[in-house]
Structures are given as C-alpha cells and as structure tokens.
Symmetry: C2
Subunit: 151 residues, 2 copies
DNA sequence: CTCTTATTGAAAATAATTATCATTATCAGT
DNA sequence: ACTGATAATGATAATTATTTTCAATAAGAG
C-alpha cells in the first residue's frame, strides 16, 4: 500500500485518526481509502471486499473495528434505510441532512431546513425536551432515473 | 384469551388483518393486543415476553411473522433509533412523524412540517427525484425529564 | 533501536433473523 | 354443525451479522 503525500480526504481522515490517538496500519488505511472517497452507503461486508484489494490480508473484524473508530471520531455516520441501518457514509460536515437514492444507495448532503419553530411548538405541547432531529430524503438519483427510463 | 366485543384499537387491527385475508389466531390476537395499545417502541423479543402472558404457548417466530403482516397491512412501522431499527410502534395515521424519547423509547406523533419548498429546491439542484422523506425528533419525554431531575 | 502496548486476523462465541416441516386450527363452503 | 383445503403454528435447525477471545505482530514514542 503506497503512502500518499498529496492531501486527499483519505489522508485527512488518517490525520484525524492519528490525532485521536489511534495507530495507523495498512488495514486502517485500506478501509479509510474505501470509505472516505465514496458517495454510496456501504455495509461492512462491501467495505471488506473493496478494502481487501488494497490490503489483501485484511480481516472483516478489522473493518468493524475501524468503522467504530471512524464513527467515534465523527468521520462516518450510519445511514438508515428501509431495510436497515447498517451502512455508512462520510459524516455530513456541520448541520446537514442526507438525500439517499433508493436504487443505488448514493448519498448526497443538503442543508437549509428550518424547523426550529415547529420543534419548539411540538416540544412545548408535549412537554418533550427535544435534543436532536433527523431528516432524510429518499428518491432516485439522476443516474438511476435515466436507467429506469431506459430499462 | 377472551374475545372482546367492544371496539378497541386491537379489535380494529384484527378486523384489518382479517380484511387483508389473514386468519386470526390466539397468537395473532396476543401480539396485536400488546402492540396496538402501546406507545413505546418495542422489539420482537419484548413483544414476545408480553404476548406470551396472553397466549402462553406463543413462539418467538410467530411474533416475527405477525409483525411482518402488521407492517404489510400498514398497522405498524419500524422506529429508527441510535442503536438500531428493530423496534415497532403503531403506524402514524396519515402524514405524521415521530417524537421519540431516548431514555424510555416512548413515541408520540406530530404533524405540521412544511418542507415541500426545500424539497423541491434540493431535488431540482441535484437532479434527484424525491419520493419520500423521513423526519424524526429525539429527546426526553416529560416522565424521563422528571426522573432525570430527581436522579 | 528498543520497548510498550494498540492493533491485527483466525477462530470461537453470541445474538438476531429466517427457513424447514410435521402438526394444528381457521374459516369458507356446504 | 360438519368438512376439507390450506394458512398458521411452534420446535428445531440453519443462516447471517456482530462481538469476544487470544496469541502474534507491528506502530510509534522515546
Ligand atoms: Mn436539520
Ligand atoms: Mn413530513
Ligand atoms: Zn441511484
Ligand atoms: Zn421517556
């Protein structure tokens, strides 16, 4: 596995991991390489298959462990889909939400929701202390729309 | 297990199941009784424990199968939480969203989000065809706030 | 270069869910 | 009510996803 000198998302992630006190290994680098530069929601098994091509003796367990570290460090987040919530994408920077393609699992990010007033109202009415919210859009990305039209 | 003549949520659910072509059994009735009259997000194993008290020879497998039927019929929905998405609540009637207590898993429903404009804009910008959205609030219900204050 | 110890992969263990199958029970049609 | 086709059931086994254990390895501070 080659070391990269130029600044990529992957190297930034590795720096962040190191800054968090984790040691960097070939296995770590392979997983990071796969997940960091990627816009699809990936499950551990898929990440394993891709990353093993970069680090052939990689074990699936290490994928789970690395994902834990990445989540802990705030570099990845889980994506909740209809079937389950076992896929990951690069964490949205700042307050953003996800736009998920139901066909290919591509993920994009968006911001601009303004619901504080509604949240305040709902919280007051119910006596609920609202700590967080979660908004996700589902649909078909442009690529999958074309495929559907053709197919 | 007694038959109920008065109209409860549970009997309405049973009618809906029957109308969908399913046969009604004691096992079905027990699961429905537990889930229909309940405002907490429940996992299959929890439902199993409660429902077995109403129908002692109930098997866990039947809980899974009944939940499938209830989901199919639109009577329950999955609740997505931080740990996972394997808990169920009565489906929100119409276009409503969930308010979930992080401490006790109590679920309430709310409506009134107005995000069509944002969704239209995001969709246009990205070439995404938006089919659905998903909004959920997390926090502490009034009961759990008091408990937390008491300590 | 050395030493401490975090990290690794193989294997086993655990947990969650699904498939198989013989038996039972629902309910539509008499 | 009775009957028969068959949906539903529970016990068991199988599968899948994830976590734990542990001895060997390798990162990186000093
Ligand atoms: Mn928001
Ligand atoms: Mn809405
Ligand atoms: Zn797509
Ligand atoms: Zn609560």
């Amino acid at each position: 596995m080659l070391t990269q000198n130029n600044t990529t998302v992957a190297t930034e992630w590795l720096d962040r991991l190191k800054a968090s006190g984790y040691r960097l290994t070939d296995s770590t680098r392979a997983v990071v390489q796969v997940v960091a530069e990627n816009s699809f929601a990936l499950e551990p098994a898929q990440i394993f298959i891709s990353a093993r091509q970069l680090s052939p003796h990689l074990g699936l367990v290490t994928v789970y462990r690395t994902l834990d570290k990445l989540e802990e460090t705030g570099l990845v987040q889980r994506v909740h889909q209809l079937n389950g919530c076992h896929a990951y994408v690069p964490a949205a920077p700042g307050h953003q939400h996800l736009l998920v393609c139901r066909s290919c699992s591509r993920v994009e990010y968006f911001s601009g929701d303004d619901l504080d007033e509604l949240f305040g109202q709902v919280g007051r009415e119910r006596g609920f202390l609202i700590q967080d919210h979660w908004l996700q859009l589902y649909g078909l990305c442009s690529v999958c729309q074309k495929e559907e039209a053709a197919g």
